[in-house]
């Protein structure tokens, strides 16, 4: 999604699976966003703000880099 040649990817789908198949709605409720936003983040259609990114990492109790990665194209 970035404009400088890089793009943000994430491991949210895998992390949800390892949390007893946590639903998108459950994650959305705990993060404080809508389910559609979690869906867009998971599908790499939207890069969340730092605040939301940290909140997602906190829900899974992992470091931010384990949830989001920045790759050069």
């Amino acid at each position: 999604m970035g404009k400088s040649g890089g793009h943000v990817t994430n491991e949210i789908r895998k992390l949800r699976f390892h949390q007893d198949e946590m639903t998108q709605q459950e994650l959305a409720d705990r993060v404080g966003v809508t389910r559609q936003t979690i869906n867009a983040i998971e599908g790499n259609k939207y890069s969340p703000s730092l605040e939301v990114a940290f909140r997602i990492a906190r829900v899974f109790d992992v470091p931010l880099e384990q949830v989001f990665q920045y790759g050069e194209e």
């Binding site: 809508t34 389910r35 559609q36 936003t37 869906n39 790499n44 259609k45 939207y46 969340p48 703000s49």
Partner: protein, 137 residues
Amino acid sequence: MSMSFQEKSLWLMFIGLVGGFGFYFVRVLPSSTAQFMPYQVVFFVLAVVMLVVTQVVGHIIIALFDRSANTDERDRLIELKGTRNGAYVLATGVFLALCVALVTESNFIFTHVLLGFWVLAQLVEIGSQLFFYRWGA
């Protein structure tokens, strides 16, 4: 991916604008006159009433089936981007309407250039938001 309350609301507004002002332009533009006529104002009022009624009834129906009207940072970003795109079109329309006002004495043409671009700006704003919701902001 299912549609959020915001997306349904935007689709309703888009359809209402196309229907309401489509009806108005189809009825009024073919009978172009030099000055705005009273019967044309009636069509304008009808178009606005149609728009308001469809919005009120439509939103009640949407709210009955979808109560998750909460918004977050992505909704706000999409709204801002849509508003920006619509503003470009509206600014272009205002400039063109002023040009028209300089070269013609017809308030019919001036009014309809302005109104046409306002409707177009709204459609671009809403269309942009629908695009961003589907294909990423």
